[in-house]
Subunit: 230 residues, 2 copies
Amino acid sequence: MDAVDWAIIKSTPLFGAMASQTAQALVGHAAPRQYEKGTTLFLQGEPAEAFFIVLDGWVKIYRTTPDGLEVVLHVFTSGETFAEAAIFLGGRYPASGETAAPSRLLRVDGAAFRARIEERPALAMSMLASASYQLKFLVEQIEQIKVRSAPQRIADFLVRMTEVRKGEAVIELPFEKGLLANRLGMKPESFSRALAQLRAHGVTAERGTISIADIGRLLSFVEFVPEDDA
Amino acid sequence: MDAVDWAIIKSTPLFGAMASQTAQALVGHAAPRQYEKGTTLFLQGEPAEAFFIVLDGWVKIYRTTPDGLEVVLHVFTSGETFAEAAIFLGGRYPASGETAAPSRLLRVDGAAFRARIEERPALAMSMLASASYQLKFLVEQIEQIKVRSAPQRIADFLVRMTEVRKGEAVIELPFEKGLLANRLGMKPESFSRALAQLRAHGVTAERGTISIADIGRLLSFVEFVPEDDA
């Protein structure tokens, strides 16, 4: 494998946050292979023998329904791994895999991979650490983008802090506003400005106590999306 | 631990997709403990001795700068784990942890945890499988929400398929539109409608060939956010 291939492997969540040497020890000495479009990589129900790292191309993962219909579950591309959960668990492939375009893949043999980890459990720990970093990063990203505006993000947090679902509600912030701003991915100034904007939605703050005039109204503000044609 | 505690542990990414027995084998027999607000759990630079699962409350992770300033890196709450990467890697805590509110935490001893995994590497595999499922789920969620509208998501995909960054561009779709719709989290009908809407942005499709009149213009459409006060 060349430097470009390694860079791609190191861009996957499972191998990203580890030393190159560790990644190398995990994937072993297999060489990447070029696959034509339409190549079956594995079939649903077969014993899981390998997982794959996509270096280039597209792979579809699909299931066949009892009446012969093909349902695509995922489409994977460069920098993504697939079928690794089946290898980790040592079972059967829960779905089939087929290249959807000419693809360059690294096939990592499952038995060899498991043997390497059994010999050196620290390798599994490195993957877990990498996965764990990536999980936190993604959770943070989602929290910061899922509710669009800063006032919506604060409102979202507030409605989660109470079980009241209609009428008035009073919430004690569990800690200082600076921490909450951090949790919501905002600068303290943006937080204060956004909190002030929530007055228009019936939210008043006095130190750590937040009064909500109508939680139902705030809930609809949280869920309000200005435009959606998806 | 009671059923509620177990439900929370099973809602964490690392323990979510495994049998309860496996989760139990991993966390061991430690009992959750109640911590007062302001309790230091560990300090930056100390050898990492344990990781934590938040059952209730709030924990802040912070670093202290050379000039004594406290910088908060994360705030964790119920259903989240922290400091596990330090335990997986067996090093020192890269930051300090302190409860930001009264909190109920499960402290999992690192040495015991590593010993359990060394004895039964399959336990690490279960965690890896769980992390791997969760990673895919989060990546998918991000792809589906980060660019808001369906036409923006298609445009985002198209600009990634070419290295051209100004003027005209022609792209061959690597596979049928149905797969692309799946990858972008859309129904085929929504996909066709959204693709048609892209005509207004200079995108014309003829079978698998997509012509883009001005890639710069399409790029600004991808990055257009109707409103942002964060």
